[in-house]
Symmetry: C2
Subunit: 194 residues, 2 copies
DNA sequence: CCGCGTTGCCTAAAGCTCTTAGGCAAACGC
DNA sequence: GCGTTTGCCTAAGAGCTTTAGGCAACGCGG
């Protein structure tokens, strides 16, 4: 028997492709072994467990997505940057649904710190810089963007908008309008209305 | 051997409790059979498959949540109603994470139509009525609320906000401010800026 | 009160999954 | 060319889902 040349990295890359084809939840040692024409047990020299495999796919996807965000943001600021940020996430989720799902895998603290997660956070903050929010509010805004982007993408991927009009694309455009508007006219903490 | 009195309904209810304790993904015939002190095969007289079981839990959770929303909205309108709507969803997700996850299970078209899903949509539209948006925009607003609420809840449940300040509660309050503000001053479709 | 039928839970079994342990042979360094 | 490393193998155990068929407990009619 000739050797196929398995590697933790090759397994993670193949796992990412597999995720896009059959769903992240179905990325398993068994399926991957079938792909490589190899017995399941052989994977365990390269990967500690099924969970370890999925974590590697998640890290790969987070990295890849962070690179795309960086490229998308290059040379843009303000509203342009906001739209680019959202579009990169949404386009990535649509073209690589399994990889996108992988980015949602909860990671333990240490792994999360080593991941591209902090890069994502930093880039979102960079986009917000142009709106000149002061400190507690900028953090709230980071969370607003994260929530809205991820929420929309999750609903769209789950088919929540299919077969109903107007199309998801239009709602997405309007939502970006609303976010830009909100960030521009960031409402003050409401006090007692006279 | 005395009979335990299994029923599709009792299984679904037990499955819902199980979901909150060990996670919706771990709601399986095996685990449920252990709970009832019964052999696994016995469940298959009441439930067609593991998937069928999970669907029943999802329908139960959607119903329960719709009832809570209806109760929360009673007698409120405008901003009060918006906050009540969001709070019911968030509180439910925090106190019943497994059931909340169940509500996210993709259902086939027919099952979705029979579920409490349409009731949820109708109640969101009822909340928006007070903001007097005209038609395509009200739909966009439904999607904005759904996205932001679900996105925030997903991030919070995944631990995205833990151990960082300010706390999730504050961001949630600010985000409700922003949503109310956006709905009140709904931005026009941007044309060519002079 | 008792038999009878229904129905509920059982045992048995097949096929899938993940995971660990130990073996053989291919590829690499010298 | 030889030895060591190491990559993929076979073997095996435990858990999960699902189907098929059997026995006995419950509930109804007499």
């Amino acid at each position: 028997m000739s050797r196929v040349g398995l590697t933790a990295d090759r397994l993670a890359r193949a796992g990412a492709e597999l995720a896009d084809e059959i769903g992240f939840d179905n990325v398993t040692p068994s399926e991957l072994a079938r792909r490589f024409g190899v017995k399941v047990a052989s994977l365990y020299s390269h990967v500690r467990s099924a969970h370890d495999l999925r974590v590697r796919v998640a890290l790969l996807a987070l990295d890849e997505l962070a690179d795309l965000v960086a490229a998308g943001l290059a040379g843009r600021s303000g509203r342009d940057a906001l739209e680019a940020l959202g579009d990169v996430y949404r386009d990535y989720a649509r073209s690589h649904p399994g990889r996108y799902a992988a980015t949602r895998l909860p990671l333990d603290h240490e792994t999360a710190a080593r991941s591209a997660g902090p890069r994502h956070a930093a880039m979102t903050r960079a986009v917000l810089r142009a709106y000149h929010l002061s400190e507690p509010d900028e953090t709230h805004a980071v969370r607003l963007l994260g929530s809205t982007f991820h929420g929309f993408i999750a609903l769209e991927l789950a088919g929540g908008f299919s077969h109903s009009s107007p199309g998801a694309r239009e709602s997405w455009a309007r939502i970006l309008d609303v976010l830009d508007f909100s960030l521009t006219h960031w409402p003050p903490t409401p006090g007692n209305t006279p």
